[in-house]
């Protein structure tokens, strides 16, 4: 091994038998899982955050009609479900969740492994995004909700048009952080035999017995991707803050 020159090692690790494809295909899979899981996480997160804030603002209020009593009971129920979800997801490791979802929940169903990973990471991310969005909603001045309501907007319409857009601006750095975390967390996808970037590089290592090149290349790809995401996020943040001065 030691006699091989630098270029011979590149040839052996990446060019021979098109081994670079392990890295490239793995990278594409990693991105696919991360991006779709983030979108799922966002949807779950916003829903939970709105439920929890609504519950916090409304429970204990007196009800004028039967509908309001029913609404409050429904809200309490959903709030309870959200709390269980947050506790379980934040209280167990991501790999454990991934394994349970694949081997236990989808045990008897024939299902695409990529889809399993997307669902698992989406559900996992949702729990963290929920708390981020909730803090964002709380960071918006109470007067904004009042102004919206005083114009005649309903609670959820005010949330959608007035509170959430401002909340998102405040939490963008934290959301970006979560996106980056998720990107790196997907490196455990190999546990359910998915060939993501990490697994791809590891396969090359096991073929060539030369860990340096594939592993360092993989690390560099993660690093550059994260740096690129950071750059994009900073750009968006600057755009959103343009009117703040």
């Amino acid at each position: 091994m030691n006699e091989l020159s630098f270029f011979e090692r590149i040839e052996m690790n990446f060019i021979k038998d098109d081994r670079w494809l392990y890295i490239w295909d793995g990278f594409c899979l990693t991105l696919k899982i991360t991006i779709i899981a983030t979108l799922i996480g966002l949807a779950i997160g916003v829903t939970i955050a709105v439920i929890k804030t609504t519950y916090a603002n409304n429970h204990g209020k007196k009800c004028v009609s039967v509908w309001q009593t029913f609404g409050q009971m429904l809200l309490s129920f959903f709030n309870g479900v959200c709390n269980i979800y947050l506790t379980v997801i934040r209280g167990t490791p991501t790999v454990v969740q991934l394994l349970i979802i694949y081997y236990v929940i989808f045990a008897s169903v024939k299902i695409d492994k990529t889809l399993v990973a997307i669902i698992a990471f989406g559900i996992n991310g949702g729990a963290y995004v929920a708390e981020i969005v909730r803090s964002g909603i709380m960071s918006v001045d109470k007067g904004q909700m009042e102004a919206g309501r005083s114009l005649g907007f309903g609670y959820f319409a005010t949330m959608r048009h007035i509170v959430l857009p401002q909340a998102f601006k405040n939490i963008l750095p934290a959301l970006g952080n979560e996106f980056i975390t998720l990107l790196k967390e997907t490196s455990v996808s190999g546990y359910i035999a998915l060939e993501d970037l990490t697994k791809g590089a590891d396969i090359i290592r096991s073929l060539t017995y030369d860990p340096f090149m594939p592993l360092l290349t993989m690390a560099l790809i993660y690093l550059i991707t994260v740096m690129f995401i950071t750059l994009v996020l900073n750009f968006i943040e600057r755009k959103l803050r343009a009117h703040d001065r």
């Binding site: 904004q144 309501r149 005083s150």
Partner: protein
């Protein structure tokens, strides 16, 4: 009809005003608007559309341009076309002298300008009554005049207004009826002449001597 609500801080003026459109939930009693008791209404949003409210801290939407601030509710709630809503908004902006700021954002305006925009935002909904919650309390002294000017203009146009205020001059000049609140209750009310020139209760006399000096 212009009703001014005066009184020491903590006397419940703002709470009373905020109960009128149920931003604050009253513990008891009834509020009649267009013959309907709104504390029993199934959908309060319908009534709030006809009751404009102006806040002490303006509460403009900072993520929208002034024009967006003004047209959001008319478009979404009254079903107006964008063109109609903007036309109406522009007309009102010209009236308060801020037509050139239509494309600005709230944070680019002074306090007095923000409050005038907040008044216009309520007016764009064509309300039947306007509630003002200490509209000039958060303003620099030199900006108070421009906001009061707009309010006087509104009063002249026979808008029904309920104003919580510390501006005694405004209350005396513009109000048809003045309510003095003390410790959560209406302690005295009547015409501005009666309240300011012939106050009955000791508490009101003391309050007036403090604020009028």
């Amino acid at each position: 009809m212009v009703i001014a609500i005066i009184g020491p801080s903590g006397s419940g003026k703002s709470t009373f005003l905020r109960c009128l459109n149920l931003l604050e939930e009253p513990n008891g009693g009834s509020i009649f608007f267009d013959g309907q008791d709104i504390t029993k209404a199934s959908d309060i949003n319908i009534y709030r559309r006809k009751m404009g409210m102006v806040f002490q801290h303006f509460n403009l939407f900072p993520h929208m341009s002034i024009m967006k601030n003004l047209t959001l509710a008319p478009i979404k709630l009254l079903g107006k076309s964008k063109k109609d809503a903007e036309k109406k908004a522009m007309l009102l902006l010209e009236k308060v002298g801020l037509a050139d700021r239509a494309e600005s954002y709230p944070n680019q305006l002074s306090g007095g300008q923000k409050q005038r925009i907040a008044i216009v935002r309520s007016l764009c909904m064509e309300p039947e009554v306007m509630l003002f919650d200490e509209p000039t309390s958060a303003l620099d002294p030199e900006m108070v005049g421009e906001v009061l000017g707009v309010m006087k203009e509104l009063a002249k146009e026979k808008m029904t207004m309920i104003v919580v205020t510390h501006e005694m001059g405004f209350a005396r000049e513009v109000a048809d009826r003045v309510i003095f609140m003390e410790a959560g209750k209406i302690a005295e009310q009547g015409s501005p002449e009666k309240i300011f020139n012939n106050p009955e209760s000791e508490r009101l006399k003391k309050f007036l001597s403090m604020v009028l000096g």
